[in-house]
Symmetry: C2
Subunit: 213 residues, 2 copies
């Protein structure tokens, strides 16, 4: 048995030491943007050597990929599979989902990683973009899909294409807020309006796809 297997891991087949290093790297990225994410800076912040960074992650891109995977592994979305779905609880679940979605998108780590992936979309063949899409959005998308499907099963929602319905829900909730935050709009001021925004969006969504009169 290899020694590595016996060590505590951080959810991605990497040791906790490596996880701590990625944590510091994420902090650097959040605080200073991509420009601050230098190998020397990470090594200094994490009290490790550049040589170890290259041994563990290969090169800078591998390190960034590891950062995305590490962050995604921390934000496991627990879907509350609430049975006995009635109109009230469906609305409540949808509002909760909408708020969670806005909170996640407005999180500084999420914003920083999205900025990083978008900035490199031109040069790396959108490798990071696909990774973010797959490991971040896919998760929350599945949660929404399950919720919508449950609503349809309970006769509370009516739609043919689940993706189309989810797209409408996403658009009504997020609108152009995500882009505005990515462009640097202060996220702190906006968070206060999240609840109202989420409820409005869910109301609109239900009047589009709900069966209730």
């Amino acid at each position: 048995m290899t020694a590595a297997i016996r060590e505590a891991d951080a959810g991605e087949g990497l040791t906790e030491r490596q996880g701590a290093v990625l944590e510091q790297a994420l902090r650097l990225l959040v605080d200073g943007g991509e420009k601050a994410l230098t190998t020397a800076g990470i090594a200094r912040a994490a009290n490790c050597s550049k040589e170890s960074l290259y041994k563990w992650f290969g090169d800078r891109d591998g390190l960034i990929s590891a950062m995305i995977g590490f962050q995604a592994s921390k934000v496991r979305t627990q879907d509350v599979a609430a049975r006995a779905l009635d109109a009230e609880s469906l609305r409540g679940n949808l509002v909760t989902f909408a708020k969670d979605l806005l909170e996640v998108l407005a999180g500084d780590v999420s914003l920083a990683l999205n900025r990083l992936a978008i900035g490199q979309a031109s040069r790396d063949g959108s490798k990071l973009g696909h990774m973010l899409q797959e490991r971040g959005r896919r998760q929350i998308g599945r949660r929404a899909a399950a919720l919508l499907e449950a609503g349809r099963k309970a006769g509370l929602l009516s739609f043919d294409d689940a993706d189309e319905a989810y797209g409408a829900l996403y658009g009504l909730v997020v609108s152009d807020w995500h882009l505005k935050m990515l462009l640097g709009e202060e996220a702190g001021e906006m968070k206060k309006g999240f609840s109202r925004k989420a409820e409005q969006a869910v109301s609109a969504f239900l009047s589009l796809y709900g069966t209730k009169r």
Copy 2:
């Protein structure tokens, strides 16, 4: 009278030579991303000297700002103030607007500039972000606002908050397509679905805010 006034300009108080340089710079940015946007590269592509670049635009940031302003000045949105607005023409105008919006957002220059501004959002205090927001989105937003207001005046639409209604329209039309394209999803394949997407979004919007039974 100054000599500069007598020269042909490119819409931003700069000479046509400078406009040609900015054109080449935009082309470099579109083709190779931010990494390809070097002063030496621009000078080579535009057959000018780096010294001229710095004389005209101050520094790299000034040049990027000029690029944004230059591009915005080219994409003037003509609002077809169609009088005699009935339900059919309102829908038609909304669909046209939705298609135009998707086309603009999917344009490679737009995507490249947005990627650039998002990538620098952390370091420059979102100066570029505000500029893009102000000179790009504000324009198309006003066109939509005028259309919505005309619809309300004609008794075809019903809403209290015009911004909220516009937000819903924007979200229904764009959903998360913009982000996916910014992250590198191939835009070519998506463009085929724009018409259908636009019509679906407008139908949903009308069933939310329309007065028609």
